[in-house]
């Protein structure tokens, strides 16, 4: 009889890389479905374009680098889905495809592939598009209800855009509109309830760690409350939470393990930094929205945070 020899441990938990990636995609579905329903077929085209672009880019890069094609792990698809969700729903599709290419190539593969990248690939793709096509990336629309296939949409400012130069959005976008996603915005960012439910499931399943979202949430609420209650014409904390990309960013992007700290303390630091940056960029920066840059900036700080928050081993001395 042939006995197999392996090193201990000889049992494994049922969690796999694939399961992690596909669970995240599943938890994004409520917000995705709403985005497609609300913005019609163009949103679906956007989703398909981004997904194909990221997956194909990864296959090409793996072939060129002569590495095994690991597309089955779902990470490239997840990047594509996330990218589509942070783009304006009526963005020209070739731009979306270019964004997907940049997300995977510059965002991931040049660093050595999955696990080695510094920045969140989807956000890096969006940052590139923002620099390359600033007009298109800030052109939002509300769906023209009349025809499903209509490519025309009425251009509108997003709720957050009403914060510049001076905030005027509170009356225009009541809470329930923001919660149910009845306002212009990125395809996957508008349906707040769907994002909250999906994100909480992700945390409950322990796929995502609660520390970063919680720290970002608390920091955002506290800081924005200070401005809201002491100053004039500042958006309310709930507006900060629901009107832009905070929910998608905090629950699904700042919980990307690769680009965030691996120490528990570090995750609190990351979340607090992110929350603070969002408030400051939104209120005092040149952009109405700050989620993307806040996460990318904190991504850059992650190696430093890891080093400074390295835990002491059991019984170790300082």
């Amino acid at each position: 009889m042939k006995l197999v020899v392996t090193t201990s441990p000889h049992i494994r938990s049922s969690l796999s890389l694939q399961k992690v990636m596909y669970t995240v995609i599943l938890c994004l579905l409520p917000a995705l479905f709403w985005g497609i329903y609300y913005f019609h077929i163009r949103a679906l085209f956007l989703l398909i374009t981004c997904s194909i672009s990221t997956v194909v880019t990864e296959i090409i890069f793996k072939k060129v680098r002569k590495k095994p094609v690991s597309i089955g792990d779902g990470s490239a698809l997840l990047t594509g889905v996330l990218l589509a969700m942070v783009l304006p729903p009526y963005l020209p599709l070739w731009m979306a495809a270019l964004g997907g290419f940049v997300a995977i190539s510059l965002g991931k593969e040049v660093f050595g592939g999955l696990g080695y990248n510094i920045f969140n690939p989807a956000l890096l793709g969006r940052a590139f598009l923002m620099a390359a096509f600033p007009v298109q990336l800030t052109t939002w629309g509300i769906p023209a209800r009349a025809s499903w296939t209509s490519l025309d949409a009425i251009t509108r400012a997003t709720p957050l855009a009403t914060t510049l130069p001076k905030f005027s959005g509170n009356g225009l976008y009541p809470l329930q509109k923001l919660l149910f996603g009845l306002h212009p915005g990125s395809m996957g960012e508008v349906f707040s309830i769907g994002l909250i439910v999906g994100g909480l499931i992700l945390i409950a399943l322990r796929i995502a760690d609660f520390r970063i979202p919680l720290a970002a949430f608390l920091t955002l609420v506290i800081l924005s409350s200070i401005f809201y209650f002491t100053g004039e014409n500042y958006p309310s904390p709930s507006f900060h939470l629901l009107a832009g990309g905070f929910l998608l960013g905090a629950l699904f992007m700042a919980t990307d393990p690769v680009t965030t700290p691996y120490t528990k303390k570090g995750r609190w630091v990351f979340g607090m930094g992110m929350g603070a940056l969002i408030v400051f960029i939104r209120l005092f920066g040149g952009y109405p929205e700050g989620v993307m840059y806040s996460i990318l900036i904190m991504n850059a700080f992650t190696p430093l945070i890891n080093r400074l928050t390295r835990p002491l081993p059991l019984g170790g001395k300082k």
Binding site: L3, V5, S8, P9, G115
Partner: protein, 432 residues
């Protein structure tokens, strides 16, 4: 009684298939192969030669060093060979093969300690050494060494380890249920040697029968502490953290902070050595997993594992792995001829179907979260992989207890412990 625990750890399916199976005696094998090295420490030399007649309990190997432990014949018979045989830990090793005769005779030298209740500390310690007692939890460190702390390090607390945190294993559990009185007597012997202020008997909460049976037998200055069912609760440093909230210094031993930890199986063996004069030639082994009738067996050391498997109805169809110990830290064996030794707490048969490839680390930090020694397993694996040897110590490589929690939870299936062991080897060679 409150539930105590340590930070980190995992909770795999407990799979205690044999929790209610009483300990049975395995019929004596025709032939035993007894490795001379069954402990951590200096090697033993044989004290018998080919052709010698031996009794059950006859000394067959000993060493001169303090950190060594003698071995004994586990059957009555004739030495047929002294040579290189399968060894469960080292792969191959020198062993004494003994063919059994029909009639069993105990070695005439076997005599209990006179009036054990009032025996001198030195007599007890010498008995424990001479009868070959080692840590029965699997570490097999000679017990008399552990019970001889230097005078500069007084012991204030004794912890009796009945946690049995490895999934599947039930040998300690059954021993506590069936031989509670003997274990308590063993504990009293240790108390006499160390004179600790406090003695705790730690049992995981998933063993209510063992808890209640020992509870009835407790004597003065003994307390049962119920610890959370979590792996590696039975690790010395983890158990100390859970019960006393004290940290064993990195690189140090429990006795550095005045603590000694002893396994319940060791207490039982100490009792048998002192009260019955019995050398360590048998132990309780849980035979479990994919065997047809999982059981708890009392097994003579040197019995080939095939005899145990056969007695338990054989391996199920498709079994391709046999492990000595539990699934988390046990050692996979290459042959069913491998003998049971002092440290073999279990024999676990598994069907390992697939060996998924190693995927890249996504830095999810599950390994960091579960690491009971608060090191960064994934970082260490990377350091070894990319041969950044100078970083090994900075990242506390040597603090790793190789419990395997990190590998258990890793979604990318990275054999982190394997990398860490390689790193430890490298570091030891670099220091030479």
């Amino acid at each position: 009684m409150k539930k105590l625990s340590f930070p980190g750890g995992v909770h795999p399916a407990e799979a205690k298939l044999t929790a209610s199976a009483p300990i049975e005696n395995l019929p004596l094998p025709e032939k035993v192969v007894i490795p001379l090295q069954q402990h951590i420490g200096a090697p033993n030399n044989p004290t018998v030669k080919k052709g010698d007649e031996v009794f059950t309990g006859t000394l067959i190997g000993k060493g001169d060093a303090f950190v060594s432990s003698p071995v004994f014949s586990s059957v009555t018979g004739k030495v047929v060979e002294i040579g290189n045989f399968f060894h469960p830990v080292t792969g191959k090793g020198i062993a004494v093969a003994i063919e059994r005769k029909e009639e069993e005779v105990l070695d005439p030298a076997i005599k209990p300690v006179e009036d054990p209740e009032n025996a001198e500390k030195e007599v007890l310690l010498e008995t424990i050494r001479a009868k070959g007692i080692v840590g029965m939890g699997g570490a097999t460190f000679p017990t008399h060494v552990k019970l001889s702390p230097p005078p500069s390090k007084p012991i204030d607390t004794l912890i009796i380890n009945g946690a049995e945190c490895e999934p599947y294993l039930t040998c300690d559990d059954r021993l506590m249920i069936e031989s509670g009185q003997e274990i308590i007597k063993g504990v009293k012997i240790i108390q006499k040697i160390l004179n600790p202020e406090k003695t705790f008997i730690a049992i995981e909460e998933n063993k209510p029968e063992a808890i209640s049976s020992l509870q009835k037998l407790l004597e003065e200055n003994m307390e049962i502490v119920v610890v959370k069912t979590k792996y590696p609760q039975g690790g010395e440093k983890q158990l100390i953290k859970a019960i006393l909230k004290r940290d064993v210094p990195s690189g140090g031993l429990p006795l550095d902070i005045g603590i000694v930890v002893q396994n319940v199986g060791t207490c039982f063996a100490i009792y048998e050595a002192v009260y019955r004069g019995k050398p360590l030639y048998e132990r309780v082994v849980t035979v479990t997993g994919e065997v047809n009738n999982p059981r708890n067996l009392r097994v003579r050391l040197g019995t080939p594992v095939s005899c145990l498997v056969e007695f338990c109805g054989g391996l199920k169809e498709g079994v391709n792995q046999v492990i000595f110990g539990g699934p988390m830290m046990g050692i996979a064996q290459i042959s069913l001829d491998t003998p049971i030794i002092k440290g073999t707490s279990g024999v676990l048969a598994l069907k390992r179907k697939e060996f998924p490839p190693e995927y890249p680390c996504i830095r999810c930090a599950r390994c960091v979260d579960v690491c009971p020694t608060s090191i960064l397993p994934t970082q260490l694996a990377k350091i070894v992989k990319f041969e950044k040897w100078d970083l090994l110590e900075e990242y506390h490589l040597m603090d790793c207890i190789e419990c395997g929690c990190c590998v258990y939870v890793c979604p990318s299936n990275i054999p982190i412990v394997q990398y860490i062991k390689a790193g430890k080897d490298k570091l030891r060679r670099m220091k030479k």
